[in-house]
């Protein structure tokens, strides 16, 4: 099939970007979206042009590296799917695809579709961990975890850190990411001792990074490749309120 691509090209962080049109001819519907970009890039290189830079690695939907917004939807039209797992059979011959990077102030464009998501790392550094020294852990079964809690924590922990939630939110809010990360650890008994400290510092790091505020529209959950529920946002709102009030009233 033949498609028309409008791809965001931006040389580097400080350069001006713009949409550039490319003809994508003879695309096999069995290709993945990134394989389609590979093919376009091979043609660009052969023609002496710069290929389109995009992040990708595992190409099986788990590493969270790939990131592109297709016709306004991060990771494209198929639900619960990263762009590396999206296949061209979901498009029609003659479609025009606008391909842009994940856009947010906290995710500056590095080149073309590649963005800098290190803000997520800084949020984890602020408190997305359990402080346990290597080798000092107690026997694993001495701390039973109700299956329900373990499953709930696992739902949150399946976040792949791709940033689609930020890209989809009209306010570029990182609430779903932070909520999933905090919710995972706050739910488990192992994470309880640091719960208040964790939510306060992770939210502070999120605000610091320049993300916007939650809209309560749940576009984030809708685009999330792992379908992480907005219920975790409610959980974070609750936990943050409790932690803040405790801090306000008891110091």
């Amino acid at each position: 099939m033949d498609l028309k691509l409008r791809v965001w090209r931006q040389k580097n962080r400080d350069a001006e970007g713009r949409l550039v049109e490319y003809d994508a001819k003879d695309i096999d519907p069995e290709m993945s979206f990134l394989e389609m970009l590979d093919v376009i890039n091979e043609r660009l290189v052969a023609a002496g042009d710069d290929p389109i830079a995009f992040d990708h690695d595992c190409r099986e939907g788990i590493c969270g590296a790939c990131s592109a917004t297709i016709n306004g939807i991060p990771h494209g039209p198929q639900r619960a799917t990263t762009v590396c797992q999206l296949h061209m059979r979901h498009f029609k011959d003659g479609d025009v695809l606008t391909i842009e990077p994940f856009r947010a102030k906290a995710f500056p464009v590095v080149r073309d579709l590649v963005v800098d998501r290190s803000a997520f790392d800084r949020i984890i550094e602020a408190g997305g961990f359990v402080s346990v020294r290597t080798g000092s852990a107690p026997e694993a079964n001495t701390l039973p975890v109700p299956k329900q809690d373990a499953d709930w924590a696992m739902d949150a922990a399946s976040c792949i850190g791709c940033g689609a939630c930020v890209a989809a939110c009209k306010n570029a809010s990182a609430m779903l990411f932070v909520a999933a990360k905090a919710g995972h650890l706050n739910t488990l008994p192992q994470g309880k001792p640091e719960k208040d400290r964790r939510v306060l510092s992770m939210v502070a790091a999120m605000d610091e990074a320049g993300f916007g505020n939650c809209t309560n529209q749940y576009e984030c959950s809708a685009v999330c490749p792992k379908s992480i529920s907005e219920d975790f946002i409610a959980q974070l709102n609750r936990d943050y309120l409790k932690a803040s009030l405790k801090k306000c009233l008891m110091g």
Binding site: D28, E30, M31, A46, F129, V130, A150, A157
Partner: protein, 637 residues
């Protein structure tokens, strides 16, 4: 060259405990004076960087991904083994040790494997304490599943994302140390060479993948946790970025490369759909429990699967291995698939695939049972192929998955270059010729959390205060070489893309040194690879410059090393005239096509020494001495 594996004396079961209490320690006040470079942030790298940072060392950690959380350990699905005996089914450290040695076809080092089994239980404790959401039973205790190659149920798991959850645990520990200032993280930074000072590994040269800046980093010791080399085959289940460069550069600086021919092939992957294919996706082997493997009897049969009558189907695994049938071991079933495809009976686009048919099981057990057992796998298959495997048979084909070979290390996980430590898949140490399912995660974390942080002290305690400056000639010389290579790559401006060369190399490797190897094919490959290499250096086209984010340049640099490494792999495969584990030599098989090992002549670790570009490498042998275990034939009867 004398290879000292430094295995401690004493009974096997006491070696590690005893050694650990005798190992040299670095005074806590002195630890902060040491700098350690860790390259790679997967399970091994992240765990080691976090643990050593926590102990008080100054750690610098490098990864090529945009975040350490994305290292390819993340893609492991199945689980992690540990000798906990939670199921009360008679598991023990000894059993895990023995299963791993046997699974490795008696080509691994006894003492290392025993240590691995010993620390396996601690890993689970550590990860559970970090908040890894392992599957639980209703009573709140950890759940287990069984996995291939073991008669006990000892695999811990977190849905189908065990690798991701364990990596996120290690990454969270790493982040905690980054915040504490003991680890400095360098994402999007690729190691391009190793720097030796007076024969010791004292630093690395890296390229900042965003700005293109090439810089030097000095340290007291270097640890490589840079993963395996399956991408030498171009198509594999590895992430696109996985590469051999760090390990290969160390090899070129004098580190020995051990057993490169030990590669593991996974029988149930989604087949290639066209020549644009960039990646192969693995599906759990458990599918073979209820699926029947078949191909048409007739060559080039293009009918749809349901149009082929029963008597025109060849259920070749059931035919050839009546007792094991569709559950024949990984290597056997992989090779059989290749055989029937080579005969021209393969199915699907390109004829590189066989059917895995669930219709009998659906009829026997009902759709609901199959859905419950494999629903997520069928969904994954549907996502990629667009086919509904409840209605039409799945198509599967084997793919490169894991590499057991790696840089040679001693018991301290230090290579023959003093100061250079190698951990995780990047070393050769624990899996012998074949790795058991759910053991890769175990080894990565064992090396990172519980072995290297102790054993590195044995080296550091002896080299007090000798950290060189990056201004020294040794660093500047290597930096210059790296810059020259980069400039050379962007200045060729030939006609062919990097990927076209990678595809060519990959196809050659897969055909000649893939699932089954023979002398003639390997010799052809050894003759052909230098030709591809020469053509590459004359005719590759790398657009742009070295001073910017340039993904073609990154790929070209990695491929340049694969183009040399592939030859080394073939040479090792040629030398090893036996079949063992993941290495199958067609000349060495039993009448029923099973691997024929030669313990008398080949029970050694092949250690290859670089002797200059386009020179034949030298082979050194570390004999495998088994104190406790008796070598036996791996039998599937």
């Amino acid at each position: 060259m004398k290879l000292d594996s430094k295995i401690p004396s004493g009974p096997l079961a006491e070696k590690w405990t005893r050694y650990r209490s005798e190992i040299k320690l670095v005074n806590p006040a002195n630890k902060r004076k040491y700098e350690i470079i860790v390259v790679g942030s997967g399970l091994a790298g992240a765990a080691a960087a976090a643990s050593m940072g926590e102990m008080g060392y100054n750690v610098k950690c490098f990864c090529y991904q945009d975040s350490p959380r994305r290292a390819h350990s993340i893609a492991a699905q199945g689980g992690i083994n540990a000798a906990k005996n939670y199921q009360n089914d008679g598991d023990s450290i000894h059993r895990l040790f023995y299963d791993t040695i046997k699974g490795g076809d008696f080509r691994a080092r006894e003492a290392n494997v025993h240590r691995l089994a010993e620390v396996s239980a601690e890993i689970i404790d550590q990860c559970a304490a970090q908040g890894v959401p392992f599957a639980r039973e209703y009573g709140g205790h950890l759940a287990n599943r069984s996995f291939g190659g073991a008669q006990v149920s000892r695999t811990f798991y977190a849905r189908g994302q065990t690798g991701q959850q364990l990596l996120l645990g290690a990454y969270s520990a790493l982040c905690r140390q980054i915040a504490a200032g003991t680890v400095k993280m360098y994402p999007r930074t690729e190691m391009l060479d190793l720097v030796l000072v007076d024969g010791h590994a004292k630093g690395i040269v890296v390229r900042d993948m965003v700005t293109g800046e090439i810089s030097c980093h000095a340290a007291d010791a270097v640890a490589l946790g840079t993963g395996g080399y399956a991408n030498v085959y171009d198509l594999s289940t590895n992430a696109r970025g996985c590469n051999v460069t760090a390990a290969y550069r160390a090899y070129k600086r004098g580190a020995l490369f051990a057993n490169p021919c030990y590669t593991q092939i996974h029988p149930t992957c989604i087949p290639v759909s066209g020549d644009y294919q960039s990646k192969l996706t693995l599906m759990s082997e458990s599918l073979r429990n209820d699926g029947r493997v078949w191909v048409p009897k007739k060559k080039g049969d293009t009918r749809k699967p349901h149009e082929i009558p029963e008597d025109e189907r060849d259920y070749y695994l059931e035919r050839k291995y009546p007792s094991y049938g569709n559950l024949a071991p990984r290597d056997i079933s992989s090779r059989s698939a290749k055989e029937v495809c080579d005969e021209g009976r393969g199915v699907g686009p390109g004829g590189q695939g066989v059917y895995l048919d669930f219709s009998d099981s659906i009829e026997r057990l009902g759709l609901a049972v199959i859905q419950e057992r494999y629903g997520n796998l069928f969904e994954m298959y549907e996502r990629i192929t667009g086919e509904d495997a409840y209605k039409v048979p799945m198509r599967i084909y084997p793919a490169l998955h894991y590499t057991m070979g790696g840089l040679w290390v001693d018991y301290n996980l230090m290579s023959n270059i003093p100061g250079l430590h190698v951990i995780g898949e990047a070393n050769f140490s624990d899996h012998g010729a074949n790795r058991l399912g759910a053991s890769a995660l175990m080894q990565g974390l064992a090396d990172g959390y519980f072995v290297l942080p102790y054993t590195i002290g044995a080296y550091l305690a002896d080299v007090r205060g000798k950290r060189p400056s990056v201004d020294q000639k040794e660093f500047q010389d290597v930096k210059k070489e790296v810059e020259e290579q980069t400039n050379r790559l962007v200045s060729i401006q030939g006609d062919r893309t990097v990927q076209s060369f990678h595809k060519e190399l990959g196809k050659l490797m897969w055909d000649k040194a893939g699932m089954a190897r023979n002398k003639k094919g390997l010799e052809e490959a050894i003759a052909k690879i230098p030709e591809i290499r020469e053509e590459f250096w004359k005719n590759v086209r790398v657009p742009g410059s070295g001073e910017e984010l340039n993904q073609e340049l990154e790929k070209a640099g990695r491929l340049a090393d694969f183009l040399e490494f592939g030859e080394l792999l073939c040479r090792d495969a040629l030398d090893r005239q036996e079949s063992c584990g993941g290495h199958f030599r067609e000349e060495h098989q039993t009448e029923d096509g099973e691997a024929l090992r030669d313990d008398e002549n080949y029970s050694y670790v092949s250690c290859w020494e670089h002797r200059g570009d386009n020179e034949k490498p030298a082979l050194h042998k570390e004999p495998l001495v088994y104190e406790e275990v008796k070598m036996a034939t791996r039998s599937y009867k």
